[in-house]
Symmetry: C2
Subunit: 195 residues, 2 copies
């Protein structure tokens, strides 16, 4: 994203942020298990000697990377849905959010596979709680009473999580296909009552 001094894409020295960013790329591509310091170092064009200067151990890298991702995602959620006043549009926009921000999205899908892992599980909880709260509020504005809004929000977010699972096992239609559009239309019609 932004750099401090040299403003060059190919600068000679690395900082902790570079490692975190590349770790997230690796997580998105091959999952959190693939984040090994030697392989990651190779990917950055250096050796593990560099890594252990920036971080005390692998776990510290994961922690910072995940925190960085969480902040980015929370801001993203707010920017994406905070401005939409109509609750129905907000919900529809939530579904459509799947396609944009590919890296952030792939990271989340990979993290869902690591719900064991002591650092990931709490993160998944926080993220899902945050998102479900948004959805729940929207259903509340539509006119659901509190209990129903909670259930519908859980149901809505579950369909999203389930879609990610199907995606991982190659049983979800391509995001740019007509089948996907038809499915999305069906989901929206089923879960969001029209005024």
């Amino acid at each position: 994203m932004a750099q401090s001094a040299p403003k060059k894409k190919e600068r000679s020295k690395l900082n902790a942020g570079d490692w975190e960013q590349q770790a997230l790329v690796l997580i998105a591509e091959q999952g959190i298990r693939a984040v090994a310091v030697e392989s990651l170092a190779r990917r950055m064009g250096v050796t593990k000697g560099s890594f252990y200067w920036h971080f005390p151990n692998r776990d510290a890298l994961l922690e910072s990377s995940l925190l960085r991702w969480e902040k980015h995602d929370a801001a993203n959620l707010q920017a994406s849905l905070g401005a939409i006043s109509d609750p129905r549009d907000r919900l529809r926009s939530f579904f459509r959010r799947t396609g944009r921000e590919k890296l952030t999205h792939d990271v989340y899908s990979s993290l869902c596979m690591a719900s064991d892992h002591p650092k990931v599980e709490p993160l998944l909880e926080r993220v899902a709680a945050r998102r479900m709260k948004h959805i729940e509020a929207a259903f509340g504005e539509i006119g659901f009473d509190p209990a129903e809004a909670t259930h519908r929000a859980r149901l809505t977010y579950s369909t999203y999580l389930g879609f990610l699972q199907l995606q991982r096992q190659h049983q979800a239609p391509n995001l740019s296909s007509e089948e996907f559009e038809a499915y999305m239309t069906h989901v929206i019609a089923t879960l969001i009552p029209d005024s």
Copy 2:
């Protein structure tokens, strides 16, 4: 389950089936990554020397274990839903199926976390396809036209997969709680139109 010669629970010699069964227990408890031959052997009260007499390698054990699970699950699905004539009851019964058969169910949830892994991914595909076909047929019987039935089946199965994900990250209500019952009622009312 059934044994051949000694008919005793604590017999001295093991067979391949015993290893497969214990592997499934380990998968259910700690995931497929935890299936290590030495640790598994310790659990069975023997050493790895025994294992490599029954199986050529770890992958072979996984393959047989997964195949054994798949057969059991397919039979289970047929026995559980095959006899119910009313499609609505069949769908409701599908949701309720979550609680029974704890081991088989936990194995599936663990396998969902291993959608990478070359042996697991095809299995997940087959199982989900089988189940979604059942659900799709039920919605067809209710009166959905083919395209809508396909979409609704995918939506229905996604809510199930999403619920498993929430369960893994400790955000699903206990299966014996009132909250769970209320949620199930909501889901059924939302996804299955009443006659």
